[in-house]
């Protein structure tokens, strides 16, 4: 029998995700070097990034508050596989670490890059702070990474 055939295809699909009202607020906040959260009057919980429906009691999150750009590292991992940034289509330099950070005054964690590339130098419970880019455009990339405070 001759070799079976497999046909290579490289379909490309483009999306244009609406950030909506709450997502737009968050991104504009990053552009100003601020971390914004939504606060639920009932639970009461404060969640980052802000969202219209509370993930815990499902009601409308009416209040937008600014939280301090620092918090506690609750988990971290190492990204070692080749990974394309979905916004740019360009591969990010690996390896690097990202982690779950609970901002002060919030009730959930936010996942983002860490400046530390060696997981053996990281510790759960470590205090970290958000570092913003000098030039900001009101996009996720305005937030550079979290770095250790201690």
């Amino acid at each position: 029998m001759s070799e079976p055939i497999a046909v290579r295809a490289t379909p490309e699909l483009h999306f244009r995700y609406a950030a909506g009202r709450y997502g737009s607020l968050f991104l504009r906040g990053l552009g100003e070097g601020r971390i914004l959260a939504s606060r639920c009057a009932r639970c009461p919980r404060t969640l980052v990034p802000p969202r219209v429906a509370c993930t815990h009691c499902f009601g409308k999150m009416e209040e937008i508050v600014e939280v301090p750009p620092r918090g506690t590292l609750l988990a971290f991992t190492l990204v070692a596989f080749p990974f394309l940034d979905p916004f740019t289509g360009v591969q990010r330099p690996i390896p690097y670490c990202y982690g779950m950070v609970q901002f002060e005054g919030t009730d959930n964690t936010f996942q983002y890059f860490l400046s530390e590339k060696d997981p053996s130098k990281l510790r759960v419970g470590q205090r970290v702070e958000a570092v913003f880019n000098e030039v900001r455009k009101g996009e996720l990339g305005d937030l550079l990474h979290f770095r250790a405070l201690e």
Partner: protein, 338 residues
Amino acid sequence: MKPVSILGVAQTKHCARRDDANYMELAFEVIQDLFRKTGWSHDRVDTIISASSDFWDGRTISEIAIQDPAGAPGKSASKVSMDGAFALIYAAARIASGAFKTCLVVAHGKASEGEPRAIANAGFDPLFQRPIGIDDHTALGLQARRFLEKRGMLGSVLAEAAAQSAAAAAKNPNAHRRAAKHVLAADPLHEDEIAPDSDGACALLLGEGGPVELAGFGCATDAHQLGERDLGDPGVLPRASLEAHRMAGVREVDVAEIHDASSAQTLLWREGLGLPERVALNPSGGAMGAQPGFATGLVRVAEVCERLARGEGRTGLAHGMTGFVGQAHCVWILRRRS
């Protein structure tokens, strides 16, 4: 089986583009509207069934965006990656079985966030069909051509049917396309003879004791490959329709809302459903006035339900479809409880 009725319906105003609302905000809007209308709240909802498409939403597990507004965390929730009319089968079964007392059904679609034609192209066979540039619109063109040929009709019937839908949509505050250019799009179909791409959502509450009951349904799936079907025929639609009418014990309905992706389908599906001229078809303008992805069929159910609840007829038919040019059909018969 326990009887299943609709406790309330809500739909968004459908638009060509909703940049002001992301998926979660769109779902929140429609679910809160449903609760406002019915006086219900999340606490009283037992289970959630949603309909959406990963491919259309540009994320796998497309229900992630609507879980919070639907109150899904902590409850039994599931998604159907087909039109909302099909998701309604799953939802109704949950009530009919007695396993759950109330079910929130949500369907959403945001055509503006993706590339509808490219996504449709990706829905076809990758080896032999995609390379020819086939998509939903050109497939509708093939169907319209077969339809005209088999009936010995002229293209003008397509324009007439489109004009009727546009006139009805003009009276529907939730529809967004009231007129379109009569320029050739997918021969023999013109732009105004093809349903628009829309952003929108629809939500229903199922349970006991509502004003309108789900009296019966039928669904059927045909071959996916266009080459295995005569697109000029209504395919498996008559079978789904017959099943629904039988289950409901209804011979003829007073009002019907169908998912017509083209004005050829407005005519072809009417024929396939065996609807006589007397029956008001798509008084909302149908999908030709707004086609919000996988919510389109559920919007048909909501439209019929509202009309029956207002006393405009006693029985109604709602139709949804999934796949290309009517590969799979789902037909619901609704009845006002007297």
